[in-house]
Amino acid sequence: MKGKKSINYIKNEYIGRTLVTICGFLIVLTTLAIIIFICQKGMQSFLDSKLSLGEFLTSDKWSPNNKSYGALVFIAGSTAVSLGAVIISAPIGIAIAIFNNHIAPKFGARFLKPVLELLVGIPSVVYGFLGVVILVPMLRENFGGVGFSLIAGVIVLSIMILPTIASIADDAIRGVSPAYLEASYGLGSTRWQAVSRVVVPAAKTGIMTGVVLGLARAFGEALAVQMVIGNTVKLPDGLYSPTSTLTGILSMDMSNTLNGTAWNNALWTLAMILLLISFLFILIIRVISKKGAQA
């Protein structure tokens, strides 16, 4: 009897533990494998195809048929469109979070939250399509040009990342201890004073995390932006001129180039840059949350 029991014990304890451990290692291995693969492919531009790193990062001449590979347009385009989207989305997202928690909690829980969740569920191609059909003609009629533009990308992206920022900010604001609010009221502040001077500063860390996550999502989004931004290989003259992004050029050219060619290698390098920038964002989030934990 005793022996049997210990077998069962071993089964229950160790098999479960082994499976869970394997899964843990598997995800680490997968991530590492992807990183190593992309970096290895990305380095080929410089090792095999002898492109210069300086030129790659600083030249705005991208013309693979004439052997010039400068990625500045794409890096600048991706950065501009993501930052623009965050500038529009962050204030609105934070406002929604405040409204949800302190102005109208019931309405927020019943209507606003489900609506935000729906917004997350809409596929990016639908956003892109709406952008092409509604936004682009509207921009063209009101502001001239072709309509396909940086601002079109910014607007589409800002709607896409709004739920990310809003829901994380919402959690952050809900996490602020009610004691802070009560203390603030006790000192005679109005509701708006309490929210803006006490609650929001106290939730700063969580809100920043949401904003950086939104930025990361904006950076990685390919399809919807590619559909409305125009994909012109040129630094934008302004908000209403078309440009390209890293993800856009990758999705357009990857399937039509051949493994091992300088062109293909250059695209892998773009993918590597994209990955490194995402890492940068993750690093920023970690630094922010560490600071938050210390405070």
Partner: protein, 295 residues
């Protein structure tokens, strides 16, 4: 649990191995039969690549498998680069491409192994928004428009309206043909106008952007798309099969099916079927040019 998992894994591995075996056995059986032409063709074929050739290849696959129930043909898209890549790697039997494989591959030894077979021709047309009052353009004028020399339609005999160029990405097969047959030594300026990823996106942009001009394959204008866009004549010649075969219309190219080594067995039968007399009427109906018209 672990045992179950192992068994599942083993089953998967076995299934994979069996599938592999099945494949080679079938093609072995096919080899015996291919001597007599009236015999049924059997085996499994996979083809991938050019999205321009995909509809034709799919139709041919439907017809040939209808006649030969033991043959299965899978046709996928992915782009000409994917087609050449995959066939060079041995992952598929036939790579579909808009350009000869040698144009894509830098590695000479690899290029020598691949065999390109012309299966059809495809004509392209310049398309413009309906508000453009031009019916025909000379090659010099087209070169001027896409290199940025002409910026207004009145410079090429049209109304006073800004020209909005819509390009395909630099790696696209359609773009490659455009550069080879029309632009010749003049470089397309990627910093003017916008770029769209697919024929559908080009149609959408042309329809909604005033003064826009781009290029599309004639196989796009079949069925209900027939009169969806205004096409231009080049040097006063209409883009028709007769004009291409009389060498009056310059903007066309061959479509290629690429095999690793000389095509044999089922691949050979399939390629012969696509380019053969029996299928020619369908080729014409679908907007391509049958090989018989081109020789």
């Amino acid at each position: 649990m672990v045992k179950g998992f192992k068994v599942t894994m083993a089953a998967l591995v076995m299934a994979g191995a069996l599938a592999g075996c099945g494949n080679s056995k079938e093609s072995g059986a096919e080899k015996e039969k291919s001597g007599a032409k009236t015999e049924e063709i059997s085996g499994t074929l996979t083809a991938a690549g050019s999205t321009a050739l995909q509809p034709l290849a799919e139709e041919a696959a439907n017809e040939i498998t209808g006649k030969n129930p033991n043959l299965s043909v899978t046709v996928q898209g992915g782009g000409s680069g994917t087609g050449v890549n995959q066939v060079a790697a041995g992952a598929i039997d036939i790579g579909n491409s808009d350009v000869p494989s040698a144009d894509k591959i830098e590695d000479k030894t690899q290029a020598d192994k691949l065999v390109d077979t012309k299966v059809a021709g495809i004509a392209f047309a310049l398309v413009v928004n309906k508000d453009v009052k031009v019916e025909s353009l000379k090659e010099e004028q087209i070169q001027g428009i896409f290199s940025g020399k002409y910026k207004n339609w009145k410079e090429v005999g049209g109304n006073d309206e800004k020209i909005n160029v819509i390009n395909r990405p630099a790696s696209s097969g359609t773009r490659a043909t455009f550069e080879k047959t029309i632009m010749k030594d003049v470089k397309v300026d990627d910093s003017i106008g916008t770029a769209q990823d697919s024929s559908g996106a080009v149609e959408q942009s042309i329809n909604t952007t005033p003064g826009s001009v781009s290029y599309l394959a004639m196989s796009y204008f079949v069925g209900d798309k027939k009169d969806s866009l205004k096409t231009l004549k080049i040097n006063d010649v209409e883009p028709t099969i007769e004009n291409v075969s009389a060498e009056k219309y310059p903007f066309w190219s061959y479509e290629y099916m690429i095999t690793n080594g000389e095509p044999k067995d089922a691949a050979k039968e399939f390629i012969n079927f696509v380019s053969g007399e029996e299928f020619a009427a369908k080729v014409e109906e679908m907007g391509y040019i049958p090989m018989s018209e081109l020789e």
